[in-house]
């Protein structure tokens, strides 16, 4: 019994230490931002990796999620003769919750893991040590532009995801099930409000972007310098970032007061 409690305590301390190290790393990145801007070219390249390479996945997933929502909700709503509520329900669900969360999980899997793998490989092949020996701070040079790019790309990807999902639900509800296009559109526009819904969506995606960037670069920088270490770190990024996204989503939703 005591050993169980001891294990629990040990694990807790371990987790807290890990949290502390992530926080310190976040501080380093923040410090790096203020110490001097990254070269624009690096940021653009990181944005290409984080954003452009994710667009196809995000758009396709968004459209599919929208179609599924449209089909499911239309069936349920029409049972109560409330099919004109489709636009409102789809819009609110996507903008408030599904958009930021699903998009965050997808970006974690697509771009976050790639960042960890890239930085981890750089560590395993001594590229990070090489930078330090040239008196170049690897956090400033490697981690900071990538974390910034993920933070910057997330709200944009989130918006793209939501627009495609709204189109997906439109395709099912209007083109397939015969709902009036104007009814769908006005239901959507009347239900969704900028300050309550769109701003919340933006805030969430921004926070998720920061978290993904932080976790991905941290895991890359702190992985064991070999192939197994890189593989573990990549998996760990996906797991950690996903959990952190879901937890912080609840916190933000609760604080926002829905």
């Amino acid at each position: 019994m005591i050993s169980v409690i001891r294990t629990l305590g040990g694990r807790t301390i371990e987790q807290l230490e890990g949290l502390g190290r992530v926080a310190v790393f976040g501080g380093l990145i923040t410090g790096a931002i203020f110490r001097g801007p990254t070269r624009f070219g690096f940021f653009v390249r990181a944005l290409y990796d984080a954003g452009v390479l994710s667009v196809a996945l995000i758009a396709l997933s968004g459209f599919t999620v929208g179609m599924v929502l449209g089909l499911q909700l239309f069936n349920v709503l029409s049972r109560f003769g409330a099919d004109e509520g489709l636009g409102a329900v789809v819009g609110l669900a996507l903008i408030r919750e599904l958009g930021p969360v699903v998009c965050g999980l997808l970006v974690t899997g697509r771009a976050g893991s790639a960042v960890t793998a890239e930085i981890g490989t750089m560590k395993a092949t001594e590229q990070l040590d090489g930078l330090r020996m040239m008196a170049i701070d690897p956090v400033h040079f490697v981690a900071m532009p990538r974390a910034l790019a993920l933070t910057f790309a997330m709200p944009l990807l989130n918006a793209i995801f939501i627009v495609f999902a709204i189109a997906g639900a439109f395709a099912i509800g209007v083109a397939n099930q015969g709902l009036d296009a104007g009814v769908y559109q006005s239901g959507l526009e009347n239900a969704v409000q900028f300050r309550q819904d769109v701003a919340q969506s933006l805030l969430k995606s921004l926070v998720f972007g920061i978290l993904i960037g932080l976790v991905a670069t941290y895991k890359g920088h702190h992985c064991a310098p070999n192939a197994v270490g890189v593989a573990r770190a990549t998996t760990s990024t996906v797991v950690t970032a996903s959990v952190v996204i879901l937890l912080s989503d609840y916190v933000i939703t609760a604080l926002w007061g829905v």
């Binding site: 944009l156 990807l157 939501i162 526009e189 769109v198």
Partner: protein, 149 residues
């Protein structure tokens, strides 16, 4: 690796696409109005506003001219609704404001019916005539009462 120019262009397109999606969500869906001209605030007092909520549309002849910007309870325990409407519409001072429902169960909005006077309502002034929300429960109750059941 692609050349820098191509990559920059693609990244630029990505940012543009994201911003377009973002502005569609904010402006069209979210209903943020940028420079939508002068606004004036009018007041209307109702006995019962039913399910009217802030941001409900204000319409003249079915066309949206503004929205509900705030709802308060005055000292007589009546609901004072503040309406933010376009300044250039020019509602005559004997216009009336009525709370209507879109469809049987739809959202409530304020319908303004124009009067005959030449003078128009100015910023901060109140509607003289108002018509409270139609409550289905009350209608049914009235019906039952009148039928003497």
């Amino acid at each position: 690796m692609q050349s820098n120019a191509t990559r920059d262009l693609v990244v630029g397109l990505f940012v543009l696409l994201g911003l377009l999606a973002l502005s569609y969500l904010s402006l069209q869906v979210g209903g943020v109005e940028l420079s939508s001209g002068e606004k004036i605030v009018l007041e209307a007092t109702f006995d019962d506003i039913g399910g009217l909520s802030a941001r409900a549309p204000v319409r003249v002849a079915g066309v949206k001219i503004g929205q509900v910007s705030g709802i308060d309870l005055d000292e007589d325990l009546r609901a004072t609704v503040r309406l933010e409407v376009d300044a250039d519409v020019g509602l005559s001072i004997d216009s009336s404001a009525a709370i209507r429902t879109a469809g049987l169960l739809g959202d409530q909005f304020i319908a303004v019916e124009l009067g005959a006077e030449d003078e128009v309502l100015l910023d901060g002034e109140a509607f003289q005539f108002t018509e409270s929300a139609l409550s289905i429960e009350r209608l049914v109750g009235q019906l039952v009462h009148d039928a003497g059941v």
